[in-house]
């Protein structure tokens, strides 16, 4: 079955929302929202910690503990995890998976070490990719799309999987926040090149977009933030639309 995953951006223990990673606004208590999404039929949750200062990073540990006590679906913590110790701390607090982004690009060996130590299944590698202007593929970006790396996104995806990533969370930086649909070319290129599940992210706007990520993008899961937080669609509506388009979902 294809998973539907709401993503919650968290700053200092509170949920905020990003449109193209620039304008963000407060949108509530993460654990309450998580429980609501569970009740609506969300298959999984991702918390993206955007807390900037190191001193306040402990807020995420408390959030993980509270979530693990009250929400009985899998959840992933991403953002700001740099070391094996960072990973160990959130997993020990009750997170099911961690998502590594810039730390994995900077130190690909971290993916390997973490996968060996904690198991492939709890290591997600997040890839933010932007289409090259000359149309020759996609490049990996860091820092919410601000810094280019020169790394080819599809190659990096295959390498991350080889090094032990159990899943890939692929965000199109061109589409993120635009609501014009997922970049299904990017998704298909990565899903076909890597032998592990791919989570599609960036661009969901209409109900039809979610099925497209699967039928055209070959994704194994779809992730969205604003369409859910803004109440544009419920998880149930998205799943009903996917089912109508022939995509198997849990209902």
């Amino acid at each position: 079955m294809i998973r539907v995953i709401p993503c919650l951006d968290v700053d200092r223990g509170r949920v905020v929302k990003g449109v193209n990673f620039v304008d963000i606004r407060d949108a509530g208590d993460p654990v309450e929202l998580a429980a609501r999404y569970d009740a609506e039929g969300a298959d999984e949750l991702v918390f993206l910690d955007i807390t900037a200062t190191h001193e306040e990073r402990d807020t995420i540990i408390h959030l993980v503990q509270r979530t693990a006590e009250e929400v009985f679906i899998p959840f992933t913590i991403g953002g700001g995890l740099r070391t094996e110790e960072d990973i160990r701390a959130v997993l020990a607090a009750g997170a099911d998976k961690v998502s590594l982004n810039s730390a994995a690009v900077r130190d690909p060996d971290l993916v390997e070490r973490a996968a060996m130590r904690f198991g492939d299944q709890c290591i997600v590698v997040a890839i933010d990719a932007k289409r090259r202007d000359d149309g020759s593929g996609w490049e990996v970006y860091l820092a919410g799309g601000r810094r280019e790396t020169g790394i080819e996104a599809v190659e990096w995806a295959a390498e991350a999987a080889r090094r032990g990533a159990g899943e890939l969370l692929v965000t199109s930086m061109d589409r993120d926040g635009t609501q014009v649909g997922f970049d299904t070319d990017l998704l298909a290129a990565i899903a076909d090149a890597a032998p592990v599940p791919v989570i599609a992210s960036g661009g969901a706007g209409t109900l039809g977009h979610f099925a497209e990520a699967v039928t055209r993008g070959h994704a194994d899961a779809v992730l969205a933030a604003s369409v859910f937080h803004d109440g544009v669609y419920t998880v149930g509506e998205v799943k009903a639309a996917m089912a109508r388009d022939g995509v198997p979902v849990r209902r």
């Binding site: 079955m1 294809i2 998973r3 569970d38 298959d43 999984e44 503990q65 693990a68 006590e69 009250e70 009985f72 679906i73 899998p74 997993l91 607090a93 009750g94 099911d96 904690f118 198991g119 492939d120 299944q121 709890c122 159990g166 899943e167 032998p195 592990v196 599940p197 194994d220 899961a221 849990r250 209902r251």
Partner: protein, 209 residues
Amino acid sequence: MALLDYDMSNLRSAGKALERLGARVEVCREPGEAGDADAVVLPGVGRFGAAMERLDERGFTGMLRERASSGTPVLGICLGLQLLLDESEESPGVAGLGLIPGRVERLRTSAKVPHIGWSEVHWREGAALGPGSGGPADRTYYFVHSYACVPTDADDVLGTAEHGVGFTAAVGRGGVCGVQFHPEKSSAAGLALLDRWLAGVQAGQALAS
């Protein structure tokens, strides 16, 4: 309820789910701490060989075999289920707990491995752990695994699921049972399953049928 802690699992979730259902959960780091528990839960995430090594170190291997033979209900979850069998392709040469005859094999499927996600379980007719009536959502659970159990005795298979290929999703023999999925991560359907198991333990029923 004794919940075995051998550094190989996401204990908090399994414990919290059981507590939510009203069970008193004792997290045990050594066999002595599980002394008077009515039942034992063996969670687990990670590799088969490393997990057996830790169970041995902690003295849980002998304790689990003794408790199982004296009829204490045991529930294995995910890797905890796989450990109940004799051996695993993941760690050749390592003996499992041997509470359920059979071996653990890698999923041989054209679909992506690990199998991560929700799948519907086809329970054997009348399986006590199964939901009985209800819709597909009531028997759809969250899985994360690359290996699956192949019990020697087909009667030990309580439920199957599919990931490009059919595989065993739930097993049971006497008071010992296990599920390949994570009931503690399977929303209402998973909590309902744990609730049925707890009710069975309380009523002294064998759930392995």
